[in-house]
């Protein structure tokens, strides 16, 4: 039977049609839409129209996959800038509201402080012996990095970058290639152990601005084998 007069059921179906078309309507609602549209031409036309609109909206404007890496590098630069400007990270407010308890917190703070003093004292006494021990490992050349003296930075390049370009870049940022490439085109750079942590951070930021660099991560910031 074909109906052309708008009924109350048409109005009810009109509210369900969008959710039927996008596949999120519950089974009872789907059955109701199907039963009604099989009998009502007006609503059947509306359903056909909505289906076409949804298809047109879902059709991709292009098939280009957009890489997140350029955006991530910009995000890292923002995080670095915030850190540099001393912008404090917000604390976990919800948890803090529920759990904060002054007497307990003070007790913990005193205990942590005492423990820190003990650890620092031990570290001062044993510092010289421990300073010679290797403290890091890296991607593809474990021996080289264990023997290295200086600050290590790990850099992931995109697949278009060759070793010669990487070595030129290392020279430009006053470092040298210690290890790499790994299968993922990751290299480890080493910087002179005379360089300060701030200088290393400057170079990390410079590396992050390079167009083919996907990720830059300091492995050891500051002189790795400082003999304090």
């Amino acid at each position: 039977m074909t109906r052309s007069v708008r009924t109350r059921e048409c109005d009810a179906i009109g509210e369900l049609i969008a959710w039927y078309v996008n596949g999120t309507l519950d089974p009872a609602g789907c059955a109701r839409v199907e039963a009604h549209t099989s009998a009502c031409e007006r609503c059947r036309i509306t359903l056909a129209m909505e289906t076409r609109v949804a298809e047109a909206m879902r059709a991709p404007a292009d098939n280009v996959e957009h890489s997140p890496h350029a955006g991530w590098q910009k995000m890292l630069a923002r995080l670095d800038a915030e850190e540099e400007a001393g912008v404090p990270r917000p604390v976990r407010r919800a948890a803090a509201r529920r759990k904060f308890n002054w007497p307990v917190a003070m007790g913990i703070a005193v205990a942590v402080q005492a423990a820190a003093i003990v650890v620092l004292a031990i570290a001062l006494v044993q510092g010289r012996q421990q300073a010679e021990a290797p403290r890091y490992r890296t991607l593809s050349n474990v021996d080289a990095t264990l023997a290295a003296r200086g600050s290590l930075v790990r850099i992931a390049f995109d697949a278009t970058v060759d070793e010669r370009t990487v070595r030129a870049l290392a020279q430009r940022v006053e470092g040298r290639v210690l290890a790499g490439p790994s299968p993922e085109n990751v290299y480890t750079f080493v910087f002179d152990d005379a360089d300060s942590a701030a200088q290393i951070e400057d170079r990390v930021r410079a590396l992050r601005r390079e167009p083919h660099v996907l990720l830059v991560e300091p492995v050891v910031l500051g002189p790795a084998d400082a003999s304090g």
Partner: protein
């Protein structure tokens, strides 16, 4: 030997996301990178439809993720992480649409009920340029109507999910969808058919 911390393609499942977000709240950049990479594609697809400009789209993604970085500790698990992040992106997209609408406001020419004019509707439904027409017609909707349609038809979200993202009652989403579809139908006829033919 490959680094245990660099897995550009590993995607967290939705069950992993609360734990990942908890680590982000503690300032763990690697967890934040994983979350960023995981959400970038989805946010890019959604926001490119709204902005149509890659650099603006990237800017909104980073603004959205900056809010995630700074407020990860405020997430209490009342909703899914994806709903929370999409909610932040939704508010940014709404602002962008409101700004753009002020810049290029166009009145919608109200047309007769399409069910009453089958020739007109057939031309519309079967038109090869439907994709372009829909894009142009969406531009004429209010930001609230446009976003409900985008979230439902483009993102495939349910009424309840859209309500959580938009931060409004389910009834409001239903109302916006109903009127949004009506306005879209009117706008579609206005952009698809020459003025003289539209009412015939």
């Amino acid at each position: 030997m490959s680094s245990p911390r660099f897995h550009p393609d590993s995607s967290p499942s939705s069950a992993d996301e609360p734990a990942l977000l908890a680590r982000v709240a503690e300032g763990d950049r690697e967890s934040f990178r994983r979350l960023y990479v995981h959400y970038h594609r989805r946010l890019h697809r959604f926001l490119m439809r709204i902005t149509r400009e890659p650099h603006v789209c990237e800017e909104i993604i980073n603004d959205t993720m900056m809010v995630v970085w700074r407020h990860a500790g405020d997430f209490r698990g009342d909703s899914q992480v994806s709903t929370w992040i999409m909610g932040i992106a939704y508010r940014r997209a709404l602002k962008t649409l409101q700004r753009n609408r002020t810049a290029r406001a166009q009145p919608i020419m109200v047309m007769p009920d399409p069910a009453a004019g089958h020739v007109t509707l057939d031309a519309l439904v079967n038109g090869a340029e439907m994709h372009d027409w829909v894009g142009a017609a969406l531009d004429r909707l209010s930001p609230e109507h446009r976003l409900v349609l985008e979230l439902a038809y483009f993102m495939g979200l349910s009424c309840e999910e859209i309500a959580s993202i938009a931060g409004c009652p389910v009834g409001t989403v239903k109302t916006r969808m109903f009127y949004g579809r009506e306005r879209l139908r009117d706008a579609l006829q206005a952009v698809a058919l020459p003025r003289g033919e539209a009412a015939t």
